[in-house]
């Protein structure tokens, strides 16, 4: 222990200690980097295992020399507080840092340096790296599924229209603001449905009919997620209120609904919706497979939304209910103006969580033969001409899903900040 105490800095000599310490850490980093990138072992003069451990030991000593409770130097204090609190944490910091550095060259060369992107067939991919040609060739399929190439503009136009209509709320006149909820809950979904029906499905206005079985890829992910998201939220709200109702019938219906849907796996629900459900319907009644799937996911996720929203309702103090009641508000006025605005604000993180899960659950619709992004990948990787590129496909899909989900969670943070009020 003597030696370690000898390496302990105090406030007077911290300057010298931190310079020596950071120099030692730098040496350890240089050793690992040169080892990983240049394949040079700077410490080959040391015996076997000591040579491997050398950067770790040097780095630890360096961090130990820099560790002090309070130095007054902002950067140093930040470093000490977060990654250098004790020897164990310093060790973890170094191990993580070194693993990342060690893994970088391989992944870099596979993904970028040795990768292929030229050409338009499998033959172009001869290198040892990733074959991005595969993604390039299949890109349209991954985006639009089996939808005919010459009609892709219809999907693009429909999406642009739907997104533009979504922004209407921002430009609404002040005196129309009270219809905002009505617009987003009822009018907007109907318009969006009509746009998607007439543009993407076609069949009228001289547009050729494209059946939903041909839809696919990322655009289908968007369509399914979009409708499920906008319908499951109001439905969940109704069941959350229902579960807290004083009327036993409504209360028990809500409880049964929530417990039923939370208790069954989504995959069986989807399977039922496409295989069992049509058997119970009259012969001449036709409901599109895609519509059935959207309804199934909506009903399923609504149960989760309901429980999240109920959590928010329960966290409000009873005084809020008392105050609203004492002002003569009835059940609906009290909930619309006082309770829900506060409760929904509280559950934004939970709702964002549910929505992210929903988006990432959409690949499950593959079990009923609808191929959205991940589904198209599964089809593409079994194509005889393109065997063996599953890895590239899944990395591509992960990146796309990550971007979508990250955008959603960023948006939820924005909402939280926007509606934050002091209590």
């Amino acid at each position: 222990m003597q030696t370690i105490n000898f390496l302990k800095p105090n406030r007077d000599n911290i300057k010298n200690y931190s310079i020596i310490g950071s120099f030692l850490v730098l040496v350890s980093l240089i050793d690992v980097i040169s080892n990983a990138f240049l394949k040079i072992n700077l410490t080959s003069f040391l015996p076997g295992s000591l040579s491997t451990l050398f950067p770790l030991i040097i780095g630890l000593i360096g961090l130990n020399m820099m560790r002090i409770d309070y130095s007054g130097n902002k950067t140093l204090d930040l470093l000490n507080k977060n990654i250098n609190t004790n020897n164990f944490n310093a060790l973890l910091t170094l191990l993580i840092l070194f693993s990342i550095i060690k893994a970088l060259p391989q992944s870099l060369s596979w993904m970028i340096l040795d990768a292929t992107i030229s050409g338009d067939s499998k033959d172009a991919c001869t290198g040892t790296g990733a074959c991005w040609t595969y993604i390039k060739v299949w890109f349209r399929r991954f985006m639009y599924g089996m939808y005919p190439n010459e009609f892709h503009w219809r999907i693009n136009t429909a999406f642009i229209l739907v997104i533009a209509l979504g922004f209407v709320g921002y430009f609404m006149k002040e005196n129309l603001k009270k219809y905002l909820a009505l617009y987003y809950v009822i009018i907007y979904p109907v318009i969006a449905y009509l746009v998607i029906y007439y543009l993407i499905s076609g069949g009228s206005f001289g547009l050729q009919w494209v059946e939903t079985g041909a839809w696919g890829g990322l655009s289908l992910t968007f369509i399914v997620s979009f409708f499920c998201l906008i319908f499951c939220f109001p439905l969940g709200m109704i069941f959350a209120l229902g579960r807290r109702s004083n009327l036993p019938v409504i209360k028990y219906i809500s409880i049964c609904y929530i417990e039923f849907w939370r208790g069954v796996p989504l995959i069986t629900v989807l399977f039922m919706s496409s295989v069992m459900f049509p058997m119970f319907l009259p012969e001449d009644f036709f409901m599109d497979k895609l519509v059935r799937v959207i309804i199934a996911i909506t009903l399923f996720e609504a149960a989760y939304c309901a429980e999240v929203i109920r959590g928010g309702l329960q966290s409000l103090p009873r005084g809020q209910y008392d105050a609203a009641k004492s002002l003569g508000m009835g059940y609906w006025k009290m909930h619309i103006f006082v309770i829900l605005p506060q409760a929904l604000k509280l559950v934004i993180p939970g709702i964002a969580n549910t929505f992210l899960a929903l988006v990432k659950d959409t690949p499950l619709i593959f079990v009923v033969g609808l191929a959205e992004l991940a589904g198209m990948l599964a089809l593409a990787k079994t194509n005889p001409k393109w065997l063996g590129f599953a890895m590239e496909g899944y990395i591509f899909a992960s990146i796309i899903f990550w971007i979508i989900c990250y955008a959603m969670s960023k948006y939820s943070y924005n909402l939280e900040a926007k509606y934050k009020t002091e209590r």
């Binding site: 105050a323 009641k325 002002l327 003569g328 006025k333 604000k345 009020t421 002091e422």
Partner: protein, 244 residues
């Protein structure tokens, strides 16, 4: 003697097995100010919460402004709109500005035009001297200001009766006075008030009658002067000796 605006007869109330209110009889005439005092847990708050049916009573009658409160009462909202209430914890709506707190109920319950409601609200806020805070949010105000806003919010419904449930108990000593001042000027304006409070100074200044409650019963009910000068029951004497 005019007809009482609030009439409670043989009222009993239980929370589960526990009887909180026992055989309450009370008549309040219009424009009278009643102060209810007593030790904590004696049922004072429950009593006034029964008057606008935030709590339901199990036995007896409560008649407010000619309407009997019972399970059959259909438009309880209409009665509540005429009975303003101020709470110990203020219970302002934290997501709305002070002005919106005051205009919400007049606009949506009384169907008052927005402009008229805002004028009324500013007028009421001026009376409690926080009209300069109208655009702030409740969280930005001090406790005393919040409670005065709560009084203004209740007054915006232009109630016939005002109920106060320990309005100063959650406040710093310095802020109690500003709230009491607002209540005194309201009392002098002729409002019918039932106030649960421990502020005996307030009781002496404005109350017509003082009620002392203990263990769910009304122990003593007397005119203010008489109540403080010559309390009849020993329990009241003990209580007064402890808090005066």
């Amino acid at each position: 003697m005019s007809d009482p605006i609030i009439k409670i007869q043989n009222m009993n109330k239980w929370f589960g097995d526990f009887q909180v209110l026992k055989n309450i009889n009370l008549e309040v005439e219009a424009n009278k100010k009643i102060v209810v005092c007593g030790p904590s847990g004696s049922g004072k708050s429950t009593l006034i919460r029964c008057i606008n049916r935030l709590e339901e009573h199990q036995e007896g009658d409560i008649i407010v402004d000619g309407n009997e409160l019972s399970e059959k009462t259909k438009d309880i909202e209409k009665i509540r709109a005429e009975v303003g209430m101020v709470f110990q914890q203020f219970n302002l709506f934290p997501h709305l500005s002070i002005l919106d707190n005051c205009t919400l109920a007049p606009i949506w319950v009384k169907k008052m035009p927005k402009k008229e409601a805002q004028e009324l609200a500013l007028d009421q806020l001026k009376k409690v001297q926080i009209d300069d805070q109208a655009n702030k949010f409740p969280g930005q105000l001090s406790g005393g200001q919040q409670q005065r806003c709560a009084i203004a919010r209740a007054l915006c419904m232009q109630p016939k009766i005002m109920l106060f449930d320990e309005p100063t108990s959650a406040l710093d000593p310095e802020m109690i006075k500003e709230v009491l001042d607002a209540m005194v000027s309201l009392a002098k304006g002729g409002m019918t008030m039932i106030v649960v409070t421990h502020e005996m100074g307030f009781a002496k200044e404005v109350a017509d009658e003082v009620i002392f409650m203990d263990e769910g019963m009304i122990i003593e009910k007397a005119e203010t002067k008489e109540f403080f000068a010559s309390p009849k029951s020993d329990r009241t004497k003990l209580f007064l000796s402890q808090i005066l």
